[in-house]
Symmetry: none
Subunit: 224 residues, 4 copies
DNA sequence: AATGAATGAGTGTTCATTCAT
DNA sequence: AATGAATGAACACTCATTCAT
């Protein structure tokens, strides 16, 4: 029993305990393999109470997704100061992201693995959060592109500046790749002992920032 | 019925039909939601026959993972000529990868989503394949680093050459990020109509190659 | 909520509200499908209060049966003047009966359908009421039989008077048939738009009275 | 166990055993109170087999209704010779009906009590059968009316012949009353020891036939 | 080589009922 | 007079798996 069995608590508290238990169980067992029995026991309550408060397994899972998605975006938002330069914002955001995923592996599993593999409805729920993050990253890329030309960090040979074709689709793909890389690194960092959130963030920052910079300056890699 | 119900076929053929049906079902329904009944019916055989040949649901799933992992790595291997320059090899590998995942969404779902979310055993199975790919990418990165100095693609101001700290852990992280980005882009490309394998490959190549190049040249982004 | 949620009312009133809600719910959902939750909510009170006043689902249902049975017999009793001739009494009684069942479909459903299909105890409860009515009808038949001979309504060829075999069992069967026909017609009239209580009563009166009359006069249909 | 537990029997046989058990259980416990566990045990099989063959509780109940309704109508149909006079047909039909209901009390309970109190779908299923019977009775009434005038069984004073107002609605009400009376008498006969099917039929025949006869001859009871 | 017949063990869900206040 | 919090026991239904042929 994960929670001390204290009786007669207000509904709001019990609900949080249930969500805690559910996130843990869903994250470790997976959505389908997690049984309501196990969740209830871990929460220290009877199954009917879980149903009374959370309605159904689907609703319970949705509630988990919403809570965890909110907490993750909140963590990132809090970690970033929107007044700072774009690269600094990206760096801070990545660090906040990797820190959160490292500290909440079950929640991250729910969002990243479980929610995306068990029905359109759940996937849509995370997709909303993900789009928020992708949009944020896209903003940073565009901001970086704008600031890249005047004082380009590397030798700009006066060549063609920013590619006019670096349109929406292009940027979307880049943001997608960056976010995807971050998601993968999160799992990798969690699974590899000795890799801190800071290191993961540094790795990705190195990988991405210079690449983006070069790209902005109109020197893309061109397929043969 | 997915397969015409022809009776009395050699075991090897029947097994492939079963694996086809299983990959499709696992890929679309998910491991737990897929029922042996559905798989047997889709394969056009009776359930006991599936058990006779494949033993159990777990074994059947493992067989699916092995077959699909083999097919994927084979596709990438075939697409790459190890004699060509590193960037060309990466480009060809990415194209082969995105092409394969686009043409075998169910198999890719089995490998990327299902196998990783349903037990350590299955995850280990794909991890082996993934490590193979990561190792390959790591080789490419190192090879690129070696070739980067003599004839650097961009203006090398004769600055410090390759970072001596670009050790194993660093490279591992980079390869991990690249592979992770590729995996995410595969899902994105599959889900976004109008994005071809070639475009996905180009996006990632742009994102990665220049970034790696800059990195090799000793101009990494440094955390504040 | 069916009832305005006024707090702190005397017990008797609350009990009636609960019985109202219960009759409605039992009548529409059926005994088993009706949940104490729904009844409590419809009554505008909390579930424990229902238990405090009515003890259990069984007791609540029994209370419903008693109240509705009492109301129905009272309605019939009030509609009949025991000083009038037998046929007039029957006519008035039928009219009162059909009127009541039309105006209280849920109560009628509780008595006629639910109580008879969910346990001997409940069935016995309605059986008591039914016997009262059957006894009343039996009286009327006997009274009619007595009055039939002196001034037979139709051409009495002076044939054998009342059948000496028209014993208790015989009369009981007739009363039973009449009451059963009435019950069925009640459901039919409720379900058939445009059929009034008066019409239902007339139909049955036509059907029954002449038949009874002929019977009294010793001209029964004889089996081959 | 009601059935000897013989293993491995053809599906058709098992299905009948299951329906036997289901009719008995539904008839005695009621639809909702009957548990699939009990039915399966009574049938001498495991629960999953019941589901494999009959799909769901609803489907199982529907199958019961259909089988019992078919058997009842078949029994009545078989008992009646459509070449004989109307009164003889009615007599034979009633006898067949009372005989069947006496011999299959559970089936009769399913049709008469359970099916009508648990959902529109089930009710519609029996309503079809009932309408068939009501239509048959209606035919008999009309046929009787036709044959009543020329050679009226009782003293026809040459008075007004058949009531021109004896329209469709009127006849429908009469048939409804007759069938309803029969249904009620069936329950009564079943519950009253010593009442045979023949006696029940005779009681109703006496009650109804003379009444109908008088009615045909234009001497209806008229409301005050 | 292949299958119709059958089940043990479990799932999500609901309900009548009580306790503490 | 009245309730929010909580549960034991059951139910319909499903599934991976095996047996007998």
């Amino acid at each position: 029993m994960g929670t001390v069995k204290t009786k007669r608590m207000p509904r709001a508290v019990r609900e949080q305990q249930m969500l805690d238990a559910a996130v843990r169980t869903f994250g470790q067992r997976g959505y389908m393999a997690a049984s309501m029995d196990e969740i209830a026991e871990l929460a220290g309550v009877s199954k009917p109470l879980v149903y009374l408060y959370l309605n159904s397994k689907e609703d319970l899972f949705t509630a988990c997704i919403r809570r965890e998605a909110g907490a993750l975006t909140e963590a990132v938002r809090t970690g970033v100061d929107r007044e700072l330069p774009a690269d600094r914002q990206l760096w801070d955001g990545l660090r906040a992201f990797f820190t959160y995923t490292a500290e909440h592996p079950d929640g991250w599993s729910v969002l990243h693995l479980q929610a995306r593999t068990h029905g359109e409805g759940f996937a849509a729920e995370v997709a909303a959060m993900r789009e928020e993050i992708v949009a944020f990253v896209t903003q940073l890329i565009v901001a970086a592109a704008r600031s890249a030309l005047p004082h380009s960090r590397t030798c700009s040979r006066g060549g063609t500046p920013i590619d006019p074709d670096l349109g929406e689709g292009e940027v979307a793909g880049l943001a997608e790749a960056l976010v995807g890389a971050a998601e993968s690194l999160a799992a990798w960092a969690n699974a590899t002992p000795g890799v801190t959130a800071r290191q993961a963030a540094a790795t990705l920052m190195n990988f991405a920032w210079a690449g983006l910079g070069n790209l902005m300056e109109g020197r893309p890699w061109s397929p043969p």
